[in-house]
């Protein structure tokens, strides 16, 4: 299949219709980059398994979704339910439009919020999806945690799309700067309603000040006809601690990029993830940790439960650059493949150019443990229940790593809810 190309004229038209604000210049610059470099195709190594063509074919897509009043009872109830389910100070972005009530309500001396439409933004033009995002961005958020602040309550960022009858597309951007010696936690939550097709593209940047500590949970629970790409770029400061845990429980075509730069010594980053996929879902997680200096530690474990005709990709890259001695990098990816037609592409990549390093990686793809299934059945559990229990236990290993402990029960419930229908198809 030939990759569809972006219609530049339509894109330009859409860009020109956006307000003339502080983002106007970066939109035009991004458009120029897009014109020159286009969007990735499956010929690009990083996009070998994920074909964006159907997603970025904008010919019949509304690029002006932000102009649709993003309020409906349906959407409001989704927003309310999510905001209630996790105790956090919520910032809400509906269809790419920032809900300014939510930003004004946030009342925390240690946190300040600004709109990119007022202050502009610096866009990283190296990543193609960042360009698309910058070109079509209606508005974005800048969140700053003051030096030395201890923020107890998580800051929630809810990105929710209500999809109208015509297929749509939305862009969101959040820049977070956590000051030196401060502690904060974030929940990034993606959800959507509506049956029509949709594509949401999220770009986030996170700068960790020296000696800061950040916990971060990303939850993606989009509708089954909604496509999603996200990119989080993290710059870790000296002696900083970053714990990230990602949950992909929904969506149709999903691609997440997590890129962590360790350019100061002493930092410790951990990023874990869980993906559940069934039917024809496609979930791709690409992670990359650049160890530019040592000593520093990065560990990651992603787990997947894949059934139906779903396809999941995990590509974990760790690059230990020359001179980054004292690096400790570990990566693991474990998958439960519950159907013969499902597919997993697992690719650990270690590139080591330093001498004194400790690196490991491991990947497994398997089925449920027959001995454990039998053991549970001899205790009276039905085959179906035994499978449920073991599958949930497999997922539980990642839930336990989610750094915001108050979310564990909620995560467990969500996972059980999404696993139910996935396992219903697996022979009972």
């Amino acid at each position: 299949m030939k990759s569809a190309t972006l219609s530049m004229n339509e894109l330009q038209e859409a860009v020109e219709k956006l307000p003339d604000d502080a983002l106007a210049a970066s939109r035009r610059a991004a458009l120029a980059h897009l014109r020159q470099h286009g969007l990735p195709t499956t010929h690009d190594e990083d996009w070998k398994y994920t074909d964006l063509a159907p997603v970025i074919d904008i010919s019949n897509r509304s690029l002006r979704q932000y102009s649709v009043t993003p309020s409906s009872e349906d959407l409001d109830s989704v927003v309310n339910e999510i905001c209630r389910s996790i105790d956090a100070d919520w910032l809400v972005i509906r269809n790419g439009v920032i809900d300014q009530r939510s930003t004004e309500q946030l009342d925390n001396a240690g946190v300040s919020i600004a709109l990119l439409s007022e202050f502009g933004g610096e866009t990283e033009f190296s990543a193609p999806l960042s360009n698309l995002n910058a070109a079509l961005l209606h508005d974005g958020l800048r969140v700053r945690v003051t030096d030395g602040a201890k923020i107890d309550r998580p800051i929630g960022i809810l990105l929710v799309d209500s999809v109208a009858e015509t297929p749509g597309m939305s862009q969101a951007r959040v820049e977070i700067e956590v000051g030196a010696n401060s502690t904060a936690s974030f929940v990034e939550y993606h959800a959507s309603t509506g049956a029509s097709e949709h594509y949401a593209n999220h770009i986030a940047e996170l700068t960790l000040g020296d000696n800061s500590h950040v916990d971060y949970v990303r939850m993606q629970e989009r509708g089954s006809s909604h496509n999603h790409t996200s990119r989080l770029v993290v710059a870790a400061g000296r002696d900083s601690v970053f714990n990230h845990c990602a949950f992909d429980l929904g969506g149709r075509l999903v691609r997440n990029d997590l890129h962590i730069d360790i350019s100061q010594p002493g930092s410790s980053v951990e990023f874990n993830g869980l993906y559940l996929a069934g039917e024809q879902q496609h979930i791709d997680n690409h992670t990359r940790a650049d160890h530019l200096v040592g000593p520093a530690r990065s560990t990651q474990e992603y787990r997947g439960i894949v059934t139906g005709r779903a396809r999941c990709v995990w590509n974990g890259k760790a690059i230990v650059h020359q001179g980054a001695d004292g690096t400790d990098a570990a990566q693991a990816n474990h998958n439960l493949l519950l159907s013969e037609r499902a597919e997993i592409d697992a690719k650990p990549e270690l590139e080591i150019y330093a001498d004194d390093v400790k690196c490991s990686h491991g990947t497994t793809i398997g089925e449920l443990d027959e001995a454990a299934l039998y053991y549970l059945r001899t205790r009276g559990l039905s085959k179906h229940d035994a499978k449920q229990v073991l599958t949930r236990a497999f997922a539980q290993a990642i839930v336990g790593k989610a750094p915001i402990a108050a979310m564990h029960d909620m995560l467990e419930e969500k996972i059980a809810k999404h696993l139910g229908p996935l396992l219903a198809g697996v022979d009972a």
């Binding site: 059945r377 009276g380 073991l390």
Partner: protein, 250 residues
């Protein structure tokens, strides 16, 4: 309660049991002894319903019904319990969760409501005290990181909670120190009753010092070569299994 007639079983093409017959009545404790590889564990697994073992001939009847027709979970709900020689570690599944799910599966099968959370905890703690187990084990993954002795105690705890009609304990004594052996034996003895049967599969006579069997059987060559009362176990201890083998062949 349990009637085994002329049972032949093979696994992976190798015939392990060859025409074994055994009858166990309610209220009885039977010990099945025999050298390694004589088919003791095979017998235990066939009764529990392990799919890898193929029954090539014979019948197994439990309370009048054809046991071989039933799935492992149906056998468990009907009151059969197998204490594993090698209990399986299941990380991520809470011990309390499994106990409760097991108790409730059985209760549901018998038309009873689910056990009350408070009742469950009280009962579990009572049984754990009897087995000299730390209540903390309730919140650990099933057998996860347990020592050999802890795993065996955990099997007996499950048995005590489930109150089976027919308990088969496969080498429950292996790898136990004397304190653990006493605790396990106490758990088993507490369960002895008129309407219950217990089958102890064991290699050594030692366990029978603590749990006195009504009948002792010696397996050899895939069938029961000799049966007797508890003195048979003592004879075996003295003369070794070769004595039975020779007697069977001669």
């Amino acid at each position: 309660m349990l009637e085994i007639n002329n049972l032949s079983v093979s696994i992976g093409g190798a015939e392990i049991l060859q025409g074994l017959s055994l009858e166990v009545r309610a209220g009885e404790v039977h010990a099945i002894m025999g050298p390694n590889g004589s088919g003791k564990s095979t017998l235990a697994q066939v009764i529990a319903g392990h799919a890898d073992y193929q029954v090539t001939a014979g019948t197994v009847t439990y309370n009048g019904q054809d046991l071989l027709e039933l799935e492992p979970e149906a056998r468990a709900r009907e009151g059969i319990f197998l204490g594993f020689q090698y209990p399986v570690e299941i990380p991520g599944v809470n011990n309390a969760y499994l106990l409760k799910a097991a108790v409730n599966a059985r209760r549901k099968h018998h038309g009873l409501p689910e056990i009350d959370a408070f009742e469950f905890l009280k009962l579990a703690k009572e049984k754990m005290a009897l087995l000299d187990m730390d209540p903390k084990f309730l919140n650990r993954g099933v057998n996860e990181g347990f020592s050999g002795g802890e795993k065996k105690r955990n099997e007996i705890l499950q048995m005590a909670m489930l109150e089976p009609s027919l308990a088969i304990l496969d080498e429950t004594d292996s790898g136990l120190d004397i304190d653990a052996l006493r605790a396990v034996a106490e758990g088993v003895n507490a369960l002895r009753s008129e309407d219950r049967a217990i089958v102890l599969v064991t290699h050594y006579q030692r366990l029978l010092d603590y749990i006195e069997p009504d009948q002792v059987h010696v397996l050899s060559g895939g069938r029961i070569a000799r049966s007797g009362d508890k003195t048979l176990a003592l004879q075996l201890e003295e003369k070794g299994y070769d004595w039975v083998r020779e007697a069977a062949n001669g």
